[in-house]
Amino acid sequence: MALAQLGIVVTQTQLAQTLGTRIGVGTPFSRVERLAQWDVRVRVTRASIDDLATLLAADIAAIAAVTTTPGLPGWGNIRTQHAVLVVKVDAEQITYHDPSLAYGPVSALCDEFLLAWGEMDEQAAFVSRR
């Protein structure tokens, strides 16, 4: 999704091979750095909501690692580690694409998103074209 946002077309199979994704097991978040092979710059770091807003405004894709909570649409009581592509930040809500949901994008209250993101130490990956 982050690559598509930057206009780079990659198949799910290519992506899974590059990231070493195992079905049902997932991917270590740090491996997102391997996206650099598609001529993008990737920076994995701890960030803030303000960072997300600033970098999105600069056309940089932002992937956030979260622990799912009932406050995130579509997850109910399932608690697991996940990654979402943030597309918009405003005063009260954060809008993001969730690859596990068949629909999207979805929005969550900033406080709810912060709870889910905070469980993963506010880790984010910022992806931009070189």
Binding site: T21, R22, I23, G24, V25, G26, T27, P28, F29, S30, A65, T67, N77, I78, R79, T80, Q81, H82, A83, P99, S100, E119, Q123
Partner: protein
């Protein structure tokens, strides 16, 4: 809670002791503290604090277990459940891990004092292989 009063007269009349419970009363026997008498309001406040503390400890145990099970994995089809308190023989928490369809796949124990997690590298690898197989089977069935 105010400064406690002390009484060596454990045998003192009950009504005399409880007339003023604005401060806790420490009952002593042979000069040693034996028990504390507090107002029901104080006792209920204490119980609430204990419950809140237990809830926070439960969340922390779950975080510790999640860290051991997931590491920095994202997209894993395992879900952790509420930690269950087990006081004996050694106090610990039991954290269940289920597939998204609710099947119990593992229970990870977290020592209440040391936060040591009872999950070896081999057990973690086996758990991840199991969820991988289950997810693949479900994908085929779907």
């Amino acid at each position: 809670m105010g400064k406690p009063k002390r009484t060596r007269e454990v045998g003192a009349s009950y009504s005399a002791l409880v007339t003023d419970l604005s401060h806790p009363i420490i009952l002593e026997r042979d000069g040693q503290p034996l028990a504390v008498l507090v107002s029901i309001e104080e006792y209920e406040r204490y119980q609430t604090l204990l419950e809140e503390q237990q809830r926070m400890l439960s969340l922390e145990a779950r975080r510790v277990a999640d860290h051991a099970v997931f590491g920095d994995l994202v997209g894993c089809a395992l879900s952790s459940g509420d930690a269950v308190w087990v006081p004996t023989p050694e106090p610990h928490w039991r954290v269940p891990y289920r597939s998204f369809d609710g099947r119990l796949l593992a229970v990870v124990e977290v020592d209440a004092h040391t936060h040591t997690v009872s999950l070896t590298d081999e057990e973690r690898a086996a758990l991840l292989e199991r969820i991988e197989r289950l997810t693949a089977l479900n994908d085929v069935a779907a």
